[in-house]
Subunit: 916 residues, 2 copies
């Protein structure tokens, strides 16, 4: 197969410069090594580390890396290569030939290559690999003669044809019913000759197999299996670059937020063989335990096997410690390498090795993937070992990892036995078990009887709030990780799985089903909000040790986990500049957040309180009032409730600042949607159900997100603002009188025009003066606004004339800035990830290029008018490490996030500052 080489470069522009002449596209590793570990963007992770290992004297089979730039070029230029690549590859091969003293395609003693992908970030198993490249009808004889092992040689050859035929030439099953064709041919042969295992095949059998494989390829695609070794090489290179855009690679990148533009490198490396008999082996190892972080050598190997055998799981590998007995010399070498790797890379390494006839080769090393728990432990312990200083240790722990120290967990063994019913989106981490309930009422009933429940809904609405509070966990069959269910669950620290679309629910029959399996209300399920897995039946869960220590149920000195947590948090607080607040609507949430290190409340939503107890009736009366008098009557009923709410929160926060947002959501959200509830309300309000329905209908909106909400409510009905601020000030006054400290910050939502804020400020200030006069206390308070529509950000200088602080409401700012409804974006966000238009969900991680501009403009203009203005952010993004990095960069004073994200935010804030 001839490689396509572009004769002319195409599509050059100022932003995407043309490939320069004489650009270096290949980098050697081995005795001569061009690259190093720092060149991972260019050489990919594998290539860079092969080079680095070669540099520090580890036994790396020589080879060369074709850079990621070639991949980018390949896709930008109709799958053609830069003109000079051909020559550079040739030179690479020749250099290896020289080092190995063998020739590629030599009929006597052929040099064989593996051709492997290697992206900037590891994407294990996602892209294609070709082994044993360089074998053909002639070289196989040479290998056979040279190794005096014809069976080995022919087995390598048939494996190579199989792999090449599949991956490069595309001979694959044409539908799901069809068996994998090469496998089918082999099974056919084995049946003919009455053999059961591959290992039973003789040299003659393998030769027959090779014949049949070649015939299969010819018959399937009308092309011959290439005998020219360079044709083989270019075919393999093309296949690896091609696999960058295969479906599973695309999906993987989506999941892990890897941009398609990074591209993959291709590593062409001398083959070494772990399958040359009992003195050969292959294995993978971690320098420490990747599951719990313990400082123990960890890994597994197989004697007389190729790497693929370990992965395929046909034979069960042995624990690495056994190698001590089987190959003590190699094991000793491995131990030394383990130490050398950690000393050199200063991090836990995950490496692959092959032992060919007692000689150890290193095929790969990389920073090992690890659980959150392991990440924390390894960082803390490596700091103790002086492998890394505090700052490095802080940077080494993915901020999200901290979460895994906090969430309740399933018993590990019980989970293994449990049946996975379905999978959804992991939306609220942790593990929960309980009875299936379909309504909020049922959830409350179950809770009142001391039992646990999982609230299962197609999607949730504010009406379900009481049920969500009562339930252990929430499961929805629709909606994404930023749906109402997910947002509220994370806010509450509830376990939550969203969008489990295989499940269909039937509220009327009170059951849900997945295929043939039917689960009735009252049946037990268990959900793992960290993985998205839904299990049939009950699985025992336990709160994390950190939570147990924080709530006084365990002693700190008894929990190593807690000590790790504390160490990391202490470091984080030392290096971060950003303040960390929490979004909390209840005293319970507030207390938990303070335990987690929150330094104040950045967002207290008054409306969440509206659903508690009977007060929803008064809320509804207020909403449905047709005149001021009626409305004031209803507001009067609400005042004592709200005052009590705020007292509770102020008390819980013990003098830390509390930012209270005035009523924000469209009023229609509070109204009953089902006729029974409407009728009941009509009766209570002493109006006819028709009138009530009509009033409800009048409040319906085409686009409630952009409708009559936020300060538009307070400006339409200043009496609501007055009631709410009175409740706030009266609560503050009552605590101050008891000698407590209270720091009140009143926040007016959805301000786009400074006048909107002015009118609200008038009402609030007047109320403050009135309450202070009545109660004869002085209340210090600040008055600010949320910046959550683009106009607010763009006119932040005007708004800052009135506002003493801003809190960026990045949820709504994202919705308006992108013109994208969070509730509706599900229908196209998947496609947008696939197309790489929006590699990350902009509701989870802030869109720096667009919404970020608005935040920056808002911050700068705000400061220009009021230099000491306090700036925070209270959207979902406040708990997202990537977003926190951005907010730190913009120079906000604090981020505010849901209580369980507070530790994550502390760590992310420190990392952001350290990265600066």
């Amino acid at each position: 197969m001839a490689k396509k080489v572009a004769t002319k470069t195409k599509k050059c522009s100022a932003k995407k410069p043309c490939a320069k002449k004489n650009e270096k596209y290949t980098y050697l590793f081995g005795k001569t090594t061009d690259g190093d570990a720092k060149m991972r963007n260019l050489l990919g992770g594998k290539g860079a580390n092969l080079a680095e290992m070669a540099r520090i004297g580890l036994p790396v089979p020589p080879g060369f890396t074709i850079t990621t730039e070639v991949c980018t070029y390949f896709y930008d230029n109709g799958k053609k290569y830069p003109a000079s690549l051909e020559k550079q590859v040739k030179l690479g091969v020749e250099s290896v030939e020289k080092q190995m003293g063998k020739k590629f395609g030599d009929e006597k003693d052929p040099l064989l290559f593996s051709v492997r992908s290697g992206a900037r970030e590891s994407m294990p198993g996602m892209m294609d690999t070709i082994l044993n490249l360089g074998l053909n009808d002639k070289t196989v004889e040479g290998l056979s003669a040279k190794t005096q092992n014809p069976r080995f040689a022919w087995d390598c050859y048939r494996r190579f044809i199989q792999m090449y035929g599949d991956v490069v030439m595309g001979v694959q099953a044409r539908n799901e019913a069809e068996p994998e064709p090469f496998h089918h041919v082999m099974e056919g042969l084995k049946a003919e000759i009455g053999k059961k295992f591959d290992t039973e095949l003789t040299v003659e059998d393998l030769k027959e197999l090779v014949k049949r494989y070649k015939a299969l390829i010819k018959s399937r695609i009308g092309k011959t299996f290439p005998q020219d070794v360079y044709d083989q090489l270019w075919g393999a290179i093309g296949a690896v670059f091609g696999s960058w855009m295969n479906e599973r690679a695309i999906i993987y990148r989506q999941k892990y937020g890897i941009p398609a533009s990074w591209g993959t490198a291709v590593n062409v490396q001398t083959m070494v063989f772990g399958n040359k008999g009992e003195t050969s082996a292959t294995g993978v190892a971690f320098t420490r335990d990747p599951a719990n972080g313990e400082n123990e050598f960890y890994g597994e190997y197989l004697i007389n096997a190729q790497g693929e055998d370990v992965v395929a799981g046909v034979r069960t590998p042995h624990k690495i410690s056994q190698l001590q007995n089987e190959m003590p010399k190699a094991y000793k070498e491995l131990l030394a390498i383990r130490k050398k790797l950690e000393n050199h890379f200063k991090d836990m390494q995950d490496f692959e090795f092959t032992i060919e006839e007692n000689k150890l080769y290193m095929l790969q090393t990389r920073n090992g993937k690890r659980t959150g728990m392991a990440a924390v432990r390894i960082a803390v312990e490596m700091n103790k070992q002086k492998f890394m200083d505090e700052k490095t240790a802080v940077l080494k722990i993915p901020a999200d990892s901290i979460s895994s120290l906090l969430v309740p967990v399933f018993d590990t063994n019980a989970v293994k036995r449990a049946k996975v019913l379905a999978k959804g989106l992991p939306a609220g981490p942790g593990a929960a078990s309980g009875e299936v309930v379909f309504t909020a009422a049922q959830a409350e009933l179950v809770a009142s009887r001391g039992r646990k429940s999982i609230l299962c809904r197609e999607e949730t609405s504010p009406e379900d709030l009481r049920g969500m509070i009562a339930a252990e966990g929430i499961l929805t069959s629709r909606g994404g990780v930023s749906s109402h269910a997910a947002l509220v669950a994370r806010q509450m620290g509830k376990v939550c799985i969203c969008g489990a679309s295989e499940i269909s629910m039937d509220y009327n029959k009170r059951l849900m089903s997945v295929g043939d399996i039917v689960i009735k209300e009252g049946d037990y399920i268990s959900i793992d909000g960290t993985t998205g897995e839904i299990y049939l039946g009950e699985i025992e869960t336990a709160p994390s040790e950190v939570i147990r220590v924080l709530s006084g149920k365990m002693k700190a000195e008894k929990s190593y986990t807690f000590q790790l947590f504390q160490t990391v948090m202490k470091w984080a607080d030392k290096y971060r500049k950003l303040g960390i607040r929490t979004n909390a609507d209840t005293p319970e949430q507030a207390k938990r957040a303070v335990q987690f290190g929150a330094e104040g409340i950045g967002l207290c939503r008054t409306e969440h309180m509206f659903f508690e107890g009977d007060r929803i009736d008064a809320v509804r009366e207020m909403i449905l009032a047709t005149d001021l008098q009626e409305r004031q009557k209803a507001l009067k009923k609400l005042l004592p409730y709200q005052r009590k709410d705020f007292e509770g929160i102020f008390k819980a926060m013990e003098g830390l600042p509390v930012t209270i947002r005035l009523l924000d959501p469209p009023l229609h959200e509070f109204l009953p949607h089902e006729s029974a509830a409407r009728n009941a309300l009509a009766e209570k309000m002493n109006i006819s159900p028709e009138v009530l329905t009509e009033r409800c209908k009048a409040l319906e909106e085409q686009n409630p997100m952009l409708g009559h909400r936020g300060c538009r409510l307070g400006n339409s009905y200043p009496e609501i603002t007055e009631m709410q601020s009175r409740a706030i000030f009266e609560a503050a006054a009552s605590l101050i009188k008891k000698g407590k400290k209270v720091k009140v910050e009143i926040m007016v939502p959805l301000v786009g025009f400074v006048q909107e804020l002015k009118f609200q400020a008038e009402v609030i200030n007047k109320t403050a003066e009135a309450v202070m006069a009545e109660k004869k206390v002085k209340i210090d308070y600040m008055l600010g606004t949320m910046i959550e529509v683009p106009r607010g950000a763009l006119t932040a200088d005007e708004i800052a004339e009135v506002a003493q602080f801003f809190s960026f409401g990045t949820n709504d700012l994202t919705q308006t800035g992108l013109g994208m409804s969070r509730d509706d974006a599900g229908s196209f966000l998947g496609r947008y990830k696939e197309l790489d238009i929006l590699p990350k969900n902009p509701f989870a991680s802030i869109d720096k290029g667009g919404v970020g501009q608005l935040v920056r403009i808002g911050a700068e203009k705000g400061r220009s008018a009021r230099p000491n203005i306090k700036l925070g952010i209270c959207g979902e993004h406040g708990g997202d490490p990537d977003s926190i990095d951005f907010f730190n960069d913009v120079g906000l004073n604090y981020v505010s996030c849901s209580p369980p994200r507070v530790p994550v935010a502390r760590l992310a804030a420190a990392q952001a500052q350290l990265k600066k």
Copy 2:
């Protein structure tokens, strides 16, 4: 009543500086004159022009003006005055005393004042006026003696008390049932003494009346009518400033977009009397006919009357020409003044005069309000007279005026006889008459029988489109001037009234009612979309002369109106820099727009075509398709329709550029909403109604405005983009082959990320290449995007790398930029106008401070990346003069508006450029 004078200024800030010491708050006019016409912002229109008249030697009774700054101070400082005002008013009074040789409060020969408001813009009748101020129990005797006319003196006094008691002291009817109290007292007296007319009252009667008036005041408010003339004066000044914030003034300002911050001035002026007998008179006059602009002296007067009598309409005034006979000397003087005023002010003047004992006094002059027709005619004719040059003439015609030359009109006499049924919002100008129909189908049926109809709906949706086309006019009972009905009607140039909330509709019974009046389907109504009035019965209408000439039904030389129109348009084209395009979706609209001077189509919405004929079925099949194959099948059906549409439009535009926007609205909009229609569709599609309903439901969105629409559709289903661009290119190819010119501009909607555009561009370019190869023609086309979400504007530099042009979609940019749904803003925009938060509807006139920033940023960034990028705007704002001024300032290349707004836009564009 003592005036409140602030001893300390309050609430000063950098933006609102404190009143400076020794600031000049009063300006004299008369023999000494401090002000002039240019000082209208400070002195108000009345005050400035009084000063100007005094300057040019016209007989103005002397007085002084208290500035508008005092009004602003008054409201900013708790209704207190600047400290130095008291002294300045005193000095003003003394100056007038000197000029008049009389003393204020003199018991022998008292100087009397009128106290009148006078804002920057005239607000006729909206604010309070006090006449005859300075009379009290003693001065009335002096006046009586001096004039030797006790009846006159006492009548003046009782009028003064009445006015002062009402306006300053607040003695008014306490509810609607109660009669006006002073009037009641007078009627009581007249009944007692058996007199019928006010004029029959004797001096003694009047003295009794004065007594009773004073008693009324005392009993009602417990205060005595003030005898101190300075107390009277301060009371009156306070009342005038106070009336700036009375309800009717606020409502008036809302309607005419006058900011509350302008404030009013107060004019204190020597009284002159038109009611001193048969040698006295009072009147108002226009230097030309304000209705049609004819150059004739126009006005009316009353002998022996005060100004209020002319306004009150108790006596019928005489035409001004009669004065020639009754008072030839005064008439001659008036003619001279008419000429002098026009010569001096260079504009048509509306003035008030009083003749006191044969001596003429000028009380006011101002630029006269006029109809659109008159504005055009006066400007053109004054230019001919060399009163103004072309530029001034262009600036003198409110751009909207041009509309009134274009719309069909009712027969003037017929309208006077017709019964006004209700009033709604004038949403599409012109006059239409027809049968009431409640459904699109009925409208089409009526049209097919050659009859005219008015489509009456609570509100309209795209489903009504066919009916809107078939009907003469559209009437809705809900929704504002930017509702669907209004937008589409203006687009089509249909007469439309929106939000006529008094009307309730019953589709089932096929009737609508206003109070007791019931109108059945088939009954005739007539609607005036210029005034918002709805009449019972049929009123004859006629198309405007301009339209008749343009459509060849009348010769240009026979229509003076058309000549006026042409003259103004020629001027406009000479001075404007902005290009004017039109938003047109059909060949008919396109042709009309070209006749009106459109230089291209700036927005051709492909989706409006989807509702024509049977194609909606194919559209629905496409939408409800569950896989690519089904969808492509439906698209194949649509292709020929769309191709034909585009051919028609290209043909109509004869080589002018045509910007075609690809599919934009959320798909749910195209689905049938009623079950009958759904069932029919299900049958056609051969699926069950349940399945259809479910698929429809799946497409419902929480916030469709921010949902799956715009290029998100084309990126989800590239096959739609492919079909649409194929239809466009095939249409272009077929015309090019026939030797016609075609200028295609394809516009991708709702782009926020450059990648969105890239993917669409790939599909479009590929299709273009394919069609060009198939048809063997070269098609020149441009590819651009709408900038209609904030992110699009903020990243316009990136987007401009791909887009060859931008069209700012300011409708959606307003919705997203302000976070305000056009469909839902009705519930608070009224209140927001009232509070002065949003003095203008941001969907009608662009919010320069916010959305305008986004337009400016988008334009600048776009140009930074592509200096020759073509920039336009195609939102509703494209036809709004104020917005056009802004777009001209930003330096856009063109604005695009609905066909009937094209002449308005041409004129507004010229004005914008001239104002620069």
